[in-house]
Each structure stands twice: as structure tokens, then as C-alpha cells.
Symmetry: C2
Subunit: 201 residues, 2 copies
């Protein structure tokens, strides 16, 4: 932030772009600073001047990318419960099944083993935020008696688990993801199950 070099803001962007593509392509351990520098068309020393070391560079890329993706998903403001859930689900699936999103998620998972703070930061910036939004919505939607907040939280977690669970698992393992029509079947099933569970009790 305040550490930003006084000149050449362009080089910094070149490095970020190049580093992101190399990291997502080869993972953290598999990416080399030489390749990052080469792809950024910049000397390696310039990379070190801007980001200090490999780990810090990676953390900077992840933080930036998480913010971008989180702000892409907007909570629907209008419509009945079914429609809100369907819109939310559609956005969620579209964002999380992007090849770049899968590659980023994969790399974060891989690196969380040696750097738990990274996983925690990602969880707080991504899954936790959106889950909490849905839990709040479920707890105070119009025309419904309020449910236990912890129960709403579990319902929200299971809703997103149903959406991302199967398809994202396949994607993480490098397997083909379902066709859009099949995705819609998952989406509708998840919405139906949440509604059935949410209105009882």
C-alpha cells in the first residue's frame, strides 16, 4: 500500500498478472520466480523489489483475487424465496465453476497445509461471508416465523454444500463438469430441498 514504489505502477500490474497465471498453472511449489519474471517481461530482481519473497507475492495474488470474486456475487434484493435462492444459486455456480476459480481454490487448498492463515483468510473473505448473508435472509424473510439462527446457518451451509459439493469436487479432481442443463437440475433440486426443510418445524 504505502510501500508502493513511487514510479512504474505498470510493472507492478505486469508482475501480478504474470504471477497469477503462473501460480494457477503450476501451483505454489511448481511455480518459479524465474518464470514469473520472464512472463512479466521484467527482471527477477524487480519482482523481489516489489514483493519481497515468493510467499508474500502469492499471498498478495490470493487476497486480490478473493476480493474480486467476492464482489462479483451480489445478493438478490427482490423476489420470493424460491426466486432469491435460484438467483443466488445460479450466480454461485457460475462463479465457482470458472476454470480460474477452480485453479485458485485448488492452489489455496494445497497451500493451506503449510499456511493455515491463507485458508482462514480465504474462508472469511469468501464462503463465510456469503453463507452468513443467506442465513440472515432465511431467518428474516417476510411472511415466515423466525427460525433458530444456528439452524438457519446450518441450512445455508448445506445449501451451498449441495451446490458446490458434487460439481466442484469433480472439477477439483480434473474431471468434467456437468452440462448446463444438468447443472440446472442440481440447482433446482437444491432449492427444492432447502425450501422443504426451511418451511417445516
Amino acid at each position: 500500500m504505502a510501500r508502493t514504489p513511487t514510479s512504474s505502477p505498470g510493472k507492478r500490474d505486469q508482475i501480478i498478472t504474470a504471477a497469477r497465471s503462473v501460480f494457477l498453472e503450476s501451483g505454489f511449489a511448481g511455480a518459479s520466480m524465474d518464470r514469473i519474471a520472464a512472463r512479466a517481461r521484467v527482471s527477477k530482481q524487480t519482482v523481489y523489489n516489489h514483493f519481497g519473497c515468493k510467499a508474500d507475492l502469492f499471498a498478495a495474488i490470493v487476497r486480490k483475487r478473493c476480493d474480486e470474486m467476492t464482489h462479483t456475487l451480489v445478493f438478490p434484493k427482490s423476489g420470493d424465496t424460491a426466486e432469491v435462492l435460484r438467483q443466488l444459486a445460479r450466480q454461485f455456480i457460475e462463479i465457482t465453476l470458472t476454470p480460474e476459480a477452480i485453479a485458485l481454490y485448488r492452489t489455496i487448498i494445497c497451500e493451506s497445509a503449510r499456511c493455515p492463515e491463507l485458508g482462514a483468510a480465504f474462508y472469511a473473505a469468501g464462503p463465510d461471508r456469503i453463507t452468513e448473508s443467506l442465513a440472515e435472509y432465511l431467518n428474516q424473510r417476510p411472511g415466515q416465523s423466525r427460525m433458530n439462527l444456528s439452524r438457519a446457518r446450518i441450512l445455508a451451509e448445506q445449501f451451498f454444500a449441495m451446490l458446490h459439493g458434487h460439481l466442484q469436487t469433480r472439477a477439483l479432481l480434473g474431471l468434467s463438469t456437468a452440462h448446463p442443463t444438468q447443472r440446472n437440475a442440481y440447482l433446482d433440486q437444491a432449492v427444492a430441498m432447502l425450501l422443504a426443510a426451511g418451511y417445516e418445524t
Copy 2:
């Protein structure tokens, strides 16, 4: 198999044990053949004589571990639907949230980016097998009209997605996993939701 060295079956086991712990500890790229050999108290050349190269050694470890874990989970043979689901869920959660299972899964995910066959082999040996078992059961349980098989398959996938989705995601990111009492809440919710969805239509 037939390639097994004629003598010293003990060394091979030492190498497998050491390699597994090093790979799960540091990932594929982060693990070095030197450390594996040192931990196995064996020379590096001996490792190469047994497994050829680093990738083959890793694949052998993953295959063995998948088999072990798959055979640990047994499909319940008796009980009503709710009880069968509950038992299945309990086994599934206990096995998949083991630290070793998480570490293995993490490493497979990480390496699937560069080696899709590994992810495919894991999926076929693990998730696919158990999901298919549940789908068959749902489709032919006594006293119920048969449902569409593809629908049963989706229900089964969503059942396991609900079970592993949230908790396993947290574990993969290095975050704390819920207390056993909280796990039971997830388990019961998942069973209830599947029953509600499975008996309608």
C-alpha cells in the same frame, strides 16, 4: 506386483510408510526423494530401484491408500431407511474427516491439476463407488415406489455433498472442524432433508 524385488520385502514397506508421511506432510512438489529416503532409513538409490521415479512412487501410495479407505466403509445391510442413512453418514464423516484422509485428499486435489488420471482414479475408487451404492439403495428400498434412477443419483450426490461439503471444506483450508455434537446436527439435518425429498413425488 511381479516386479517386487526377490529379497527385502521389509525395505519396500519402510519406503511406502516414509513416503506416505512425507507426501502428506509436504505435498508432491514439496516432498523430496532425499527426505523420503532418509525417513525410511534407506539409501535414495534403493527408493529408485523399487519405484522408478517420484511420480510412480506417489501414484503407488495414493492407490494403496484409496483401497484401504474404500474398504473401511461398509454399506449397512439392515434397518429402515433413516437408520441406514444415519449409519452411512456416520461412517462417511468419521472416515473423511480423519487428518490423514484430509491430507491425502488435499494432495490429490493439488496434483490433479497436472495429472488428471490421478483424480479420475481417486474419484472412481472413492466417491463414485459409494454414491452409486446409495443411489441403488434409494431406488429399490422396500415399500417405496421406484424413482427415476438419475434422480436417485442426484439425491445420493447431494446427500454426500451435504455431509462433506461444509466440514470438509473447512478441514481442507486448515480450519477447525466442528465438535462431534455439531457434527451430529449436520448428520441429522442431512438425513432429514434427504428423506423429505426422497419420499415426495
